[in-house]
């Protein structure tokens, strides 16, 4: 197998194809601390892309409760168990990726979920790790915890679905790095379903071929962020383009948050796919779990994130989440505002770093009434 460089694990690794990076790479950052699992993203995606026949149990976007929520059932614990205990948490990953751990004659270590694994997309919702004992109070990190993990296709740099397909029916677009599955070429072998560790390729039993998240490419081609991003009521998502760490641009909000402030982390980087959806880790969750899920630097990411209010630039980048439906290519913090720009440098949005505070007197003379201090 050819060798490719994966910056998330800080080393070269094996991949079935030569490494060619796209001109731009679609990416998304999700702030898990702000997600309330309202599933607006899930429904926005569902109504836009998968209301058809054979797509009944198919959610290209889903939100699951961690640690006991899964869609499909047990997707991450199953592949972690197959991969075995690996040493994670260092900048240079010493363990095996899924490509390196592939059994003889296979391209990637994977498994095919059972059909019924897709039957309970919201299983484990709001389940906590355990009960609090009488008289206990929460400390940081929490002793008993849960959090919400929104998931779409990671549009991986080294996509396992793409690597696993024996027909090259899956391709990565050179213009934006979005990974697409050719609906004309696919023959429904399900090697991609088996190979993708995130289980973000789905089989449609009516068309008998596989389908996956298309990164809302018609929107992205028109400089718009994805449906799951723009409909998010909690403004937890930012969708844009990421560059590699050596070419990181400080004025690109994605690069800034991922490469410079380092507060957004990939999902299971040890799998070796270089996924392009990044997560701001939940601050209340014990580090051991988070390091397994988001890799090295997770504790520092939380520390930096918790001090964001003192860092104008970081605050400025974070306030761009949900501020505009357009893709922000550049940003700068100027005075009291953070400003987002499109690729050509035209201003898209201006967000105040601090919302102005209005203090209303308790008694309103004009209307001769008392006001409660609710907003």
């Amino acid at each position: 197998m050819p060798k490719v460089y994966n910056w998330q694990i800080g080393r070269e690794m094996e991949y079935p194809y030569e490494g060619v990076r796209p001109q731009k790479q679609f990416a998304m950052i999700m702030d898990t601390n702000k997600c309330i699992a309202c599933q607006t993203c899930t429904i926005a995606c569902k109504t836009t892309w998968t209301p058809g026949r054979g797509q009944e149990a198919m959610f290209w976007n889903n939100v699951e409760t961690k640690p006991y929520g899964f869609y499909p059932m047990g997707w991450d614990v199953k592949i972690l168990e197959k991969l075995g205990v690996q040493e994670v948490g260092d900048k240079v990953y010493k363990g095996k990726t899924l490509f390196e751990a592939a059994p003889e004659g296979e391209r990637v270590l994977g498994y095919l979920p059972d059909d019924l694994d897709y039957a309970h997309p919201n299983i484990g919702e709001d389940d906590c790790t355990g009960l609090m004992t009488q008289g206990a109070f929460l400390q940081m990190p929490h002793m008993q915890w849960m959090y919400y993990l929104p998931r779409i296709c990671n549009h991986c740099t080294y996509a396992a679905c793409l690597g696993a397909c024996p027909r090259q029916s899956i391709y990565k677009r050179p213009e934006d790095g979005i990974v697409l599955l050719d609906q004309q070429r696919c023959r429904g072998y399900r090697e991609c379903v088996r190979g993708c560790p995130y289980k973000k390729v789905y089989f449609n039993p009516i068309t008998r071929v596989s389908e996956k998240c298309i990164g809302c490419y018609p929107a992205v081609e028109n400089n718009r962020q994805t449906q799951c991003t723009t409909t998010c009521i909690g403004k937890i998502r930012l969708n844009g383009f990421i560059t590699t760490p050596d070419k990181a641009r400080e004025d690109n909000p994605m690069d800034y948050l991922i490469h410079i402030a380092k507060i957004a982390k990939p999902l299971y980087p040890q799998f070796g796919l270089e996924p392009n959806v990044y997560y701001i880790p939940p601050i209340q969750v014990p580090p051991a779990y988070l390091i397994q899920m988001f890799g090295w630097g997770t504790e520092q990411a939380i520390k930096t994130y918790r001090q964001a209010s003192e860092d104008k630039r970081l605050l400025g980048a974070l306030l761009l989440f949900g501020a505009t439906p357009d893709i922000i290519h550049h940003f700068k913090v100027e005075g009291r505002y953070t400003i987002g720009y499109d690729e050509a440098g035209a201003e898209l949005v201006r967000v105040p770093l601090r919302e102005p505070i209005h203090i209303r007197v308790v008694y309103d003379d004009k209307h001769q009434t008392y006001r409660s201090n609710m907003t």
Binding site: P51, G52, P113, D114, D115, P166, R167, P205
Partner: protein, 280 residues
């Protein structure tokens, strides 16, 4: 790169004499009649000498399949001057024709070189660049579609509850984007007129369904055994179609999948080339 390595190994395997019963010729007897040969029980089949074809694990292209379920096929061949047919029988404990995420269908395929040249045979493993093969693949699921109608979601999941599909409220052209592979006329998805896909290939991963679909077939599963007949015209002027004639020669190879053992695509059993002789 994967494909080119595969072709080299496949070419080497193709040259191994007698490695997989290649010395046993399959004699296509002359039958009466004119049209497609679709009968599984025509008494004339008894005149055709059955050949046992040893099936091999697919160990060249990844993903490989070291332990295929089906170890041998029993094959008979016949033609009626217009159509060629194979009667293929093999043991399979389960009839698999339901296709959902973790269920696969039983399948069997017959392969010929598109142009047979004894000194330049294509790789038996789906041909090679420049060595094009014609592959006729019978699928149990397609036959089920033809016999019982294409499954709707309630056929696959009897308790499914669905509010509304786009095609119930939109005009056909507007609903088309929601039909996935069906909307782009993927031959795997589109409504079937035949249980056999007529295809061509020039190596692993290059399988292409031909625009011209004439082959047909029919299968019957009884008592842990499949009996399948696959038929195709002797001579068609169409890209990827071989030319056979009474009294002529060619070669033939087979592949088989047990859906119940999750065999699909390259996870299959295959045979080397067998000589195929046509009675006058």
């Amino acid at each position: 790169m994967l494909a080119s390595a595969g072709v080299l190994i496949a070419a080497a395997i193709a040259l191994l004499p007698g490695a997989h019963g290649a010395e046993t010729a399959l004699q296509a007897i002359r039958m009466t009649g004119m049209g497609p040969i679709l009968s599984l029980d025509a008494p004339e089949w008894n005149r055709a000498k059955p050949v046992t074809v040893q099936m091999l694990p697919q160990m060249v292209a990844t993903p490989r399949h070291p332990n295929p379920a089906v170890k041998e096929l029993m094959v008979r061949a016949a033609h009626n001057g217009h159509w060629l047919a194979f009667l293929i029988e093999w043991k399979d404990a389960t009839r698999n024709e339901r296709i959902v995420a973790d269920e696969f269908g039983d399948q069997v395929a017959v392969q010929f070189p598109v142009r047979f040249k004894p000194d330049a045979m294509p790789s038996p493993m789906m041909g090679h660049p420049g060595g094009r093969v014609n592959i006729l693949q019978w699928r149990a699921a397609f036959q089920r579609d033809i016999e019982k109608g294409e499954p709707q979601v309630r056929d696959l999941y009897p308790n499914a509850v669905v509010d509304l599909y786009p095609d119930q409220v939109l005009r056909a052209t507007d609903a088309r984007p929601y039909t996935g592979a069906l909307g782009v006329d993927n031959p795997i998805s589109r409504p079937k007129e035949s249980a056999v896909l007529d295809q061509m290939a020039e190596g692993f991963g290059s399988m292409t369904v031909k625009p011209d679909q004439r082959a047909d077939g029919r299968g019957e599963w009884k008592g842990g055994k499949w009996r399948v007949v696959i038929t195709t015209p002797l001579w068609v002027e169409a890209p990827g179609s071989p030319h056979f004639m009474p009294g002529g020669n060619s070669i033939v190879a087979f592949a088989v999948w047990d859906g119940g053992k999750q065999e699909v695509g390259s996870r299959k059993a295959w045979s080397g080339w067998l000589p195929l002789r046509f009675a006058r």
